[in-house]
Structure formats: structure tokens, C-alpha cells
Symmetry: D4
């Protein structure tokens, strides 16, 4: 599917941006012995090709008091309600990920909360959405890995070779 | 836990960075009618407080040919092997998230792959790690929501008020 | 139950037809040193006995873009709806097999689809049939075996001896 | 994926072969008001494109005393044994379909047997393959649908339009 | 609870009746060197104490064409319907045992049927009772043991000592 | 399968024996206005045909202090151990029924015990048999139905008509 | 969270009260070579800090005829009914513990009953509460441990050091 | 089983002790217009009959920083290890209750911990006991009821009437 080809320069620019999206283009240019304009052009091109779609902050959720992570499987009454329920879920900021899934659940969500009590409230909010039949919760005891950088590097390696 | 207090200026800076981490500080300064130095100082302070820990690129994985998402529950032979298995998982770039969980699984992972066939290979790699007893896979039919920005905004609102 | 007896000639004819249903009767006759008329009579007899009921094409579904196979377990609201639901299922060409089953499902289907997205639509169509309470999907990562020829040979061996 | 395009003549030939793979080319030619040579050329082309891969007999398994159908889910001890176990399964003619699957089973098979007792023997054969950890069986009470012709017609319609 | 005490003669009479309830009292008397009247008195006493409540024929169900045994777990909509549903079940002669149970089922039944098809009908009859929410069936591949005589002997041994 | 035909006299004899296996043949003869010899001949014939295989006592287990009934599902390590484990089970008199089953269990047993404590011991005995991997127990809260007489009557009706 | 600090005297007082809450303060005072007034002051202080909230009798439930313990998982129709159902549960004295839980159940209770029959009635009472969808029961075969004293000692040790 | 009969005075004494085990006997005597000696004799008698076995402190675990409650189901490798594993569990003070159970678990425990992290450690300690095969955890989101006083009152009412 992915037909876009990266050359060595694209690849090196991406590697630096993966580590820190705020790296100034002039720094990248200096490191790669090219002009800042070239960096700009290359990044633009990759944005236009839809490869890079933006950037996001990384926060220390534990420090911010949001250490509680849970996965919630949702059973719907009817799958025709899927879109309606997803719209309601979208209004709860503590749900950070939601998937339509195979297997026993219709929807599967990841939530971040402050503590057991807060999680209970978020789960009850999900339970009370019209069309939600039941939910089942699995609690994370430790987030051992949350890192897309290795995947990004692996994808870019593949696109260069 | 979170005792750090944000003032209105911190909050506005964060709101702009959430939308685009690459927004130049001079742009932020202009918008908020403060000096670029002030922006710099505020961001530094929030980094030192451990609130902001970095930034990451957002990619369009579908465009890149990595449209297949699955959740894999892992049963270990013994929980004493947890750390060893997590280290092995860490070597597989297609696993982007891993949790130690309650409930029936010992570990719970999210993987991104190219297609059914590639997913099969990643799952088989997980299955073949020493200490992994069995795995169970749930496939995403659609990633309907993947957005931490609403959570970030909600947290920052709370820290300002 | 099966009281029909095959003689050696019937058996050899069947073995050739199993490998290629389009083998001309004259070719079979030449190979077996009998007349084409005899082949014709024997096949007719086996058709009349209801042993052979027809023939079907074999397609390469992967090449045709239909590589995605899933099994869908269906829970009905009431088993009295079984026939009604089966009639609706019969209108979805992507469902190739359907069984009334024991165990936790009321009905169990096999579907062939183009990809994850197409499968989602077929599953949603099943979910939306009146009387269908819920569905549970298991996705095939690889169709490793799909061959009734070994079974046919085994049955015919048994009927000859 | 499927880029092969069918014209109206191809389509009509396929429709006749789907209904009866043994229809002589001369009959098809007469119906479509084209020469038998053309039919031959078109079928050849579709075989070379890998669309048609062969043909198979349809039997009345009930009449033949093989009315018992069951689905067997297999748990392996290690997924590294998958290929080995599939090879052993391939030696049991009563297993007509086998898949590598997601979800709780590693492999999922369809078996045809004479009756409860015969089915027990086939299941015990599967259970006794080295590397098979456990099996779970679901019995068909009625094969309500087993028909790929609707799918074939749907695919060919799509390829023509 | 059981305070009734058996003496050696009671015990020997029971052992003979367990093996064949039709053994004439005169035969028992001869074997035990007591009078037939004594046998009569003892049996009467055990009937009055409620130990023996009657006798039943043993049939060869396989020979009678009733070889198919299944266990059916029943979920009710409300446990207040338990007695009503049991009354309906009582009208289906193919259900030979029914229990109110703990665990996931509300009721748990044993059925005897002629074959897969007949079993399907009995299960559908159960499913169609008002108040029955769903059923789950487990099929017996072989009745390996069905013998209360060992239990009876063990109980009588205990009551004698 | 069952080809044996019952005439009206056979049927009436069976109906009387179902209600009380100890009914003297002379009583049956008087009721049916036939000779005791005829009753004898008919019963003999049905025994030789294998329809009647014997008779068994009915006890009031509650009165005897054996009010506790449980169903135990057994997982084996390997199905090749089935016969060995069944032989061990056969040595435990508190197990009155055992089946080889489909579904998640390999074997499924019914036990009768005195109380919770006694049941625990019987279950532990089952658990400790070599080759038994795990057991799962479902406890009966009430034996609502245990009656084969309705089935017997239904079978005999069918054989007469 | 717990900032209250215990000194050595507090700790020794608590250790004596854990073993017997009725130990007279004069006895404690004599043992610790302090005045009864000091004991009184210390206990008061710990009560005011909310550490000690009261005391409860320990009964021998087996002797009292309440030997039957079961855990009952409750599924609600809607989590919005949680408080209403908890209020109803609170009216059944045989339910001694109730939790709102994650996982498959909405509520999870512990019940004490006299025997199987009494337990059935309590479970039926739970089942009949409006808003209760279903229940699932797990029966205790033996209460092997029920002791908070070790936990109390461990907590107090930690608060002293 | 419980044959001990309470008279009205016993009952009133118990009611006061249930509410506060530390109520001085002189206070009880005053309220009931009997002598303190009588109270003493009655309590002694109930202790000797084994009805009252002691008393325990009630703590506010939340205030003490132990707000996290979980239920842990334990699968053993062999039930013959039950006693050994219970002895090991007995060494972990955070496990306050343990049962031998029917159903899918061999043992079922209640734990109290400080937070998610502490709970993880306690669960890992359970997992690492020799003979423990796996554990499954269900987390309490809220302890809504923990009160044996209603049960005690109900039992005593019954013993008086």
C-alpha cells in the first residue's frame, strides 16, 4: 500500500524529529550538512504525502495525578448504535482510545483516571450511555511500555531500503 | 498528588502546544501579548516540574501501510517472569503498548501490523517468548478514537482552576 | 445408513472426477479400458442414488481480493426465530456456511470478505437482523486446509471394500 | 487487489459453469451465440489468471452416512508447533477445513463424521497429536447453508461492473 | 441425619434386591436361612422408614434407539419463574433430570434423544418455554458410567457398621 | 434402529412394571385377563430382545443423609488417559454418572455426597487421579426432577403405534 | 495518606486490644506500667483520629448453624441502579459484604446461610430485586482463613517505625 | 444444629455487645435492671457454649491508607497442595480471607492493599507460591457494605423465638 519512498535525508530528518518534534530545522540542517530550506521542503513534502500528520505533547500522567489506567470492553444492545455511542464516548475526555472490535466486545476503550473512585465514575458514565448494554473492566497494574518511536523507526527503515 | 498550579498564561501556552508542538515560541508570544522569553521560561518551568516530558510525531499509519491493530492478552507461566518477558516484548517494534493487568491476562499489549499475515507473525513472536504460556487476540475493526488532547485539556483546566 | 455399494469401476471413475470434474467421459473410458457409454451409465446411476449431487468451481479467493475469512457465532433472542434469521442470512452472499449449533451459540457462520473494513460491514449486517441478539467473531489468520477430496476418497474406499 | 476485469461474455460463461461445472463448452457456446473456441479461449484465460483453479464434486454426505458435523477448536502448547500439527491434521481425512485463528484457539477445524462415536474417535486423534494441548468441540445440529455460489456470483458481478 | 440402623439381615436383603429388585422373597429367605415372612417384615420396615421408595426398570436405551444424551444449561429471565419453567419442563418426557443450580446456569437438565435432529427439537422446546432466556448444550460422546448400585452398597455398609 | 415392535399386551405389561417392578406376574395376568404364563413369556421375550435389562431400587437419598448433589467437569491432561481415569472414577462410589463429553470438559460426572465437607473430599479424590488436570464443580440447590418413567412410557407408546 | 504516627505505647495498647477488645484499661495499664488514665487518653486520641472506629463480636457461625458461605456476583441491568440495588441488598441480613467491582460483575456479595436450601432462598431474594439482571454463585467448601488481626498488626508496625 | 436457646435477657445483652463490645457489664446491668453478676454469668455461659468466641477492633482502613480491596481467585496445580498453599497465604498479612471454593477457582482470597502498586506486589507474592498455577483478580471500586451486625441480630432473634 505505502508506495512513498524515503531517501536517506528524509530518513535522518525523521529520526531527529521522532526524538524531539521541537528540534529547530536549523539544528537539523547543521547536523545533516544541508540547508534549512531543504529540511523545510522535505518535511513539507512528507506532510503533504500524509506521512506526518502533526505532533503531540508527552505528559507525565503520574505526576499530574492521573496514574490510573483501565481498559473497558463495551457490549452494545445493537451494533446500529455504534456511531451514536462513539459520539457520546467522544464527550468523555478520560477515554483516550476507542475501537470497534471483533470478539466478545463491540467497543473497546482505554481510560485514564485519577484513582479507583474516579475510574468508577468514568465507567458509570460509559454504562449510562443509551445503547450500552454492559461493560467489563480490566485494570492496569503498571504501564510497562508505551512507545511508538520504535515502530516509527522500523517503518521508516523499511521505507528507505 | 498533583500540587503544581498553572496560571492562566501557562494554560494558554499549553493549549497552543497541544494543538501543535512545533508552534514557534515567538508565535505563542505574539498571540498572548507577552515576550518570547516569558514563553521560554514558562515552558522550561513546566518541563522541570515534570509536567511536559517531551513531544512525539503523529503519523498516518493507514497511509504508511500499517492499518492493522490488535490487542493481545498474554498469560505467563509464572509472574516472576514478568520483567524478562517485558524485556523481550520491548524488542518487537510492532508492540506499541504493554501493561501488567488484573483479570485473566498477566500482560496486555497493543500491536500495529501491516495486515493479517504480518499480525500472525507478530503474535507468533510473542507466543515464542520463553515464559509466555498462551496469548489471546482481539482485532480492531476500526480505530474510532485515539486522542489524548481532550484529556490534556481537561487536566490543564483542572490545574488552573 | 449408506447401503449403496461401489464396485471397482465406479470407484475409479469417482477418483478421476474428484481430481477434475470436467474430465471428459471419453478420457475416463480410455484410461479404464471401458466404453464411454459405460462411464455415462455408471455416473448416471450414482447421481440417481443421490451420491453425486453436482459439481462446483474452485476459485482462488485471495487472487480475487477476498482473502479475509472469519467465523461468526450468533446468539438469537429466541430459537423460534431460527428459520427467519437463516432466511435473512441467506440474502448475504458473503456468508458461505451457516449451522445451527450446540454450545453457547445458536447459529455459527463462516464469512469471506475483502478486508477488515468489509468484514465489519458484513458483521454489522448480521447484527442488524431482527432476532439476532449478539454476535461474536473469530478471525482466520490463515486458511491452512480446505480440502474435501481426502474425505471423498476415504468414503469411496470404504464403500468399495 | 483484484485488477482482472471480466467482460460480459466471461461473466455469462462463469454463471453457467457455477451452476454445473460439467456443462459442455458447445452448450455454453450455443446459449451465448458464440463459437466453442471462444468459450475455450475465455476459460483458459481465466484459468491462467488464476481466477478459476479447478472444480470439485458435490456429494450428499447425509446419504453417504456422514451426517455428523462438528467444529473443533485446538489449543497448542506452543505456536512454534503450528506447522507440525497442521501436517498431522492433514493426515486425518475427516478434517475438511483448518484455520490458524485469533481469539482463544490456535487452530480451528471442521470435521465430518458418521455419528457421535466416530466423531469421538476423530476428536481423540486430534487430541493425541504431539503439541496439541486441548480441544473444545461444538456440534452442528443442522447444516442450514453451505453455498459458495452466491458469493461467486457476487464477486463476478463486481468484477464486471 | 440418617439415624436408621440396619442389622446384618437387612443389609443382606438389600444387597440381593439391589442386584435384582424382582428376586422373590422366598429366594431371599432360602439364601439367608430365614423365613419369607421375616424378609417381608424387614422390607416393609425399610419402606416405612422411607429408605426404599420403590423400584424402576432398567432399559437398554441404545437398543431402543435413544442413544443420544445431552446436558442442557438453562438461563432464566427471572428466578421467580423457576417453578413455572420446571412445570413446563416436566411435560417434556425426554428431559429425565432437572436441577436448580449454582454457577452460571439457573437450571441444568439431562435429556435423552434419538439423534442430533431429535435433540435439536427437544432443545428448541426448552428454548421456547416462557421465561427461558437462553440454553447452552453439552453433548455426551459416551455414557461411561451410570450406576447407583455402588453408592447404595456404600451407604448400606455405613448404616450397618 | 429400534425395530422391535410391541403389541398392546406387551405395552400394558410394561406400563405396570414401570410403576412397580415388583408387581407379581399373577397380578399383571389378572388385570390383563391373560394367563401368568403369557406374562412370563412376554417379559422373557422383551428381556431377550435386550429391551429390559434389569431393575433397580429407588432410595430416598435425603432421608439417608446423602442430600448433596454436584456436577463435576473434568479436564484431562491427555485424552489418551480417558479410560484409565474412568477406571479410577469407577472406584469412587459417590460418583454415580460419568460421561465423555464435547465442549470444554473431557469428562462430566454427577456426585452424591452427605454435605459440603464430604463433597470437598470426593472432589479432591477426583482431582488427585493421575491424568486429571483440573475440575470445575456446579452444585445442585434442588433436584427438581429425576424421573425416567415419562421417557419409558413415551418410548413404549412409540413402539406400539 | 495515613500521616498519623503511633508511638511505642500506642502500639502496645493496640496489640492488646486486637487480641481482646474487652481487655480492661486497668489491665493494659498494669502490663505497660503506665496509668489507666494514660491508656484512656491514648485510646480516645486514636478514636478521634478515626483509626479505631469501634469493635465487633466474633461468633462461631458453624456452632450457630450458619456454616454455609457463598459469594454471589450480580449483573445489573443498568449501573444507574447501583445505589437502589445496594439499598435493597442492605435489607437482607444474610448478605454480610457487598462491593461495586470491576470485571464481569457489577456487584459482588458474600452471604452466610444455614444450608443449601437457605442459600437458595437468599440467592432468589437477590435475583428478585428490581434492576438485578442475573446472579452467579460460587460456594465455599471451607473458610480456611478469616483474620484481620495480622493485617492490623502489620499496619500498626508500619505506623510506628 | 444450633440447639442453644437464648432467653430474653441473653438476647438483650448480646444486642448491646454487638453495638459496642466494650460496653461495661455494669452499664448493661443498669439498663436491663439486673445485677452485673448476672450479666457476667450469662456472657460466660454463651462463651462456654461457643456462641461468642471473642471480639475484634474495627478500623477505618481508608484513613489508614489501606483503601484498595481486591478479590483474587487462585488455580492450584494439584488440590493436594491446598493445605501447603494455605499455609503460605497465611504468612501474607494483606490477605484477610481465604476460602476453598467450587467453580473455576480452587482458592478465593480477599486482599487489602495501599494502592495499585502495592496490590500488584501482593498478587505477585500469591502467584509465586509453589503449587499456585495462576491467579485472576477482581478489583473493588467501592466497599458498599461490610456489616455482620444485621446477621448477628437476625441469628439471635431466631434463637430467642
Amino acid at each position: 500500500m505505502a508506495k512513498f519512498k524515503l531517501d536517506d535525508t528524509d530518513h535522518k530528518i525523521l529520526d531527529m524529529l521522532i526524538d524531539n518534534t521541537r528540534t529547530p530545522f536549523t539544528d537539523i540542517a547543521k547536523k545533516l550538512l544541508i540547508s534549512a530550506g531543504t529540511v523545510h521542503v522535505r518535511v513539507k513534502k512528507m506532510e503533504e504525502a500524509g506521512i506526518i500528520t502533526g505532533s503531540s505533547l508527552s505528559l507525565d500522567y503520574k505526576k499530574l495525578g492521573y496514574a490510573f489506567i483501565a481498559y473497558v470492553g463495551i457490549y452494545l444492545e445493537k451494533t446500529s448504535q455504534t456511531q451514536f455511542v462513539l459520539n457520546r464516548i467522544n464527550e468523555i475526555p478520560y477515554v483516550t482510545v476507542a475501537h470497534v472490535t471483533t470478539g466478545k466486545f463491540n467497543l473497546f476503550c482505554k481510560i485514564r483516571a485519577k484513582d479507583t473512585d474516579h475510574a468508577k465514575n468514568v465507567i458509570f458514565q460509559l454504562d449510562d450511555i443509551d445503547g450500552v448494554y454492559r461493560t467489563e473492566t480490566m485494570i492496569s497494574l503498571e504501564e510497562s511500555l508505551n512507545d511508538k518511536k520504535r515502530l516509527m523507526k522500523s517503518i521508516f527503515d523499511e521505507m528507505t531500503s
